[in-house]
Amino acid sequence: MSRTAPLAITIATGDSRPIVRQIIDAIRRQISTGDLSVGDKLPSVRGLAQQLAINPNTVSKSYAQLTAEGWLESRAGLGLFVAARRDQLSAAERERRLGEAVDRFVGEVIAIRYPADEAVAAVADAFDALTLVRSA
């Protein structure tokens, strides 16, 4: 019998993101950073609702969306587990994420007053380095 992985997340009321969204974001981040690994068992709906002092239906909604997106999988009678990575994002979502990443990057570059063409070249170099490692 697998044990439940501790889920160290917090939610904030008064945030402009709904609580459902905050839970989804936090779990996705933990999976991406490796704090949660493939096969880890998530807390029960009731357990996470108690932990965060929120309505269990809110937890259910978050879990349902993460399952639909392929981040989590349910095993009959056992609970919810972190699923093996697949290509989980739609084309539109990937495009949106790329836009966000670019915005963050551009913001940083502007903050340190770096010329745009040099910044672009540095990005290209970074990707080249990745390709070299991979083909080596």
């Binding site: 009321t13 008064g14 402009s16 709904p18 609580i19 108690q50 002092a53 929120i54």
Partner: protein, 301 residues
């Protein structure tokens, strides 16, 4: 059996010439936590008193668990739990005596596990008199008694009013635990939007005795958006902006809170000379506040 826990049709209650409830149509399905919010005097407490049969309507119909509220039988009432904001219990009685009475009244349906779970987080001894308990302890005891009664319908009128942080958190935990029982409907009113955000499946907004919103809290929040626009000079006249909830001018920049803003709203502002327009979502407490204060006169722009 009706699928509704509460239904009101054209419910009206007048206090003198003032309408505490004005033609209220409300249909709350069975199951889940329904939060009722509204400014003071919006009619929440009047509604609760009518639901419980303490007060009769001036007009309209009210059904509680499928039966007219004026015709509730003693057996119907046993299925309804009520926790009021003052947590009124006889001050001279001991904790043990009140508990024994409640157990006797609800012997056929008493849920000892529910009572024990709640009471365990409040440090009470049976010999204490109610009058010696703190407000938080009384609130916990009161909620435990109501949950022990295994009610199908639990009505709470501002249960966390005046509680400290610790007692409030314990009460919320108990409420979340208690509300998850099968086929239980919780109707809850509060001014604490933070609690509503944590607890509620549906958000009911009352204003001057009428229903203004009935939806999931997140759907309500999505209807309201904040706009920040740099408009030299005066900006568009407020009466040309349907859905305007609030307008403030801070350091020469216009801030608008909009209800159901139209897709072309940014262009509308630009058409009135805005040089920059930004929009952002708002937290639930801001959304409720903007919605409830929209008819109050603010400082002139």
């Amino acid at each position: 059996m009706s699928g509704l826990a509460i239904e009101t049709r054209g419910l009206t209650r007048r206090h003198g010439r003032k309408h505490a409830l004005d033609n209220l149509d409300l249909a709350l399905p069975r199951g889940g936590i329904h939060a009722i919010v509204g400014a003071n005097g919006a009619g929440k407490s009047t509604l609760f008193r009518i639901l419980l049969g303490f007060l009769s309507p001036s007009g309209g119909e009210v059904f509680v668990l499928g039966r007219p509220s004026a015709a509730l039988t003693p057996d119907d009432r046993r299925r309804i739990g009520f926790v009021n904001e003052e947590h009124t219990l006889p001050g001279w009685a001991t904790v043990a005596a009140v508990l024994a009475m409640q157990r006797r009244l609800y012997a056929d349906r008493w849920d000892a596990r529910a009572f024990d779970t709640v009471i365990a987080s409040f440090d009470l001894s049976p010999a204490q008199r109610i009058g010696q308990l703190s407000r938080g302890e009384r609130a916990g005891f009161n909620l435990a008694l109501a949950l022990g009664q295994a009610p199908e319908l639990l009505i709470l009128d501002e249960p966390t009013l005046g509680l400290d942080v610790v007692a409030r958190r314990r009460l919320l935990d108990a409420l979340i635990e208690g509300a998850s029982a099968e086929d239980r409907t919780v109707i809850y009113c509060s001014h604490q939007i933070e609690e509503v955000e944590r607890l509620a499946d549906t958000l009911v907004v009352l204003e001057r005795g009428s229903l203004r919103n009935f939806s999931a809290p997140d759907d309500f929040r999505e209807r309201i958006t904040q706009w920040v626009a740099n408009v030299p000079f005066k900006g568009p006249p407020p009466d040309a902006m349907p859905g305007l909830l609030q307008h403030r001018k801070i350091d020469g920049v216009h801030h608008y809170m909009m209800l159901d803003a139209e897709p072309g709203f940014a262009d509308f502002l630009r058409g009135h000379g805005a040089t920059s327009v930004q929009t952002m979502p708002v937290p639930l407490d801001r959304a409720v506040d903007a919605f409830l204060t929209r008819n109050h006169a603010g400082p002139a722009a």
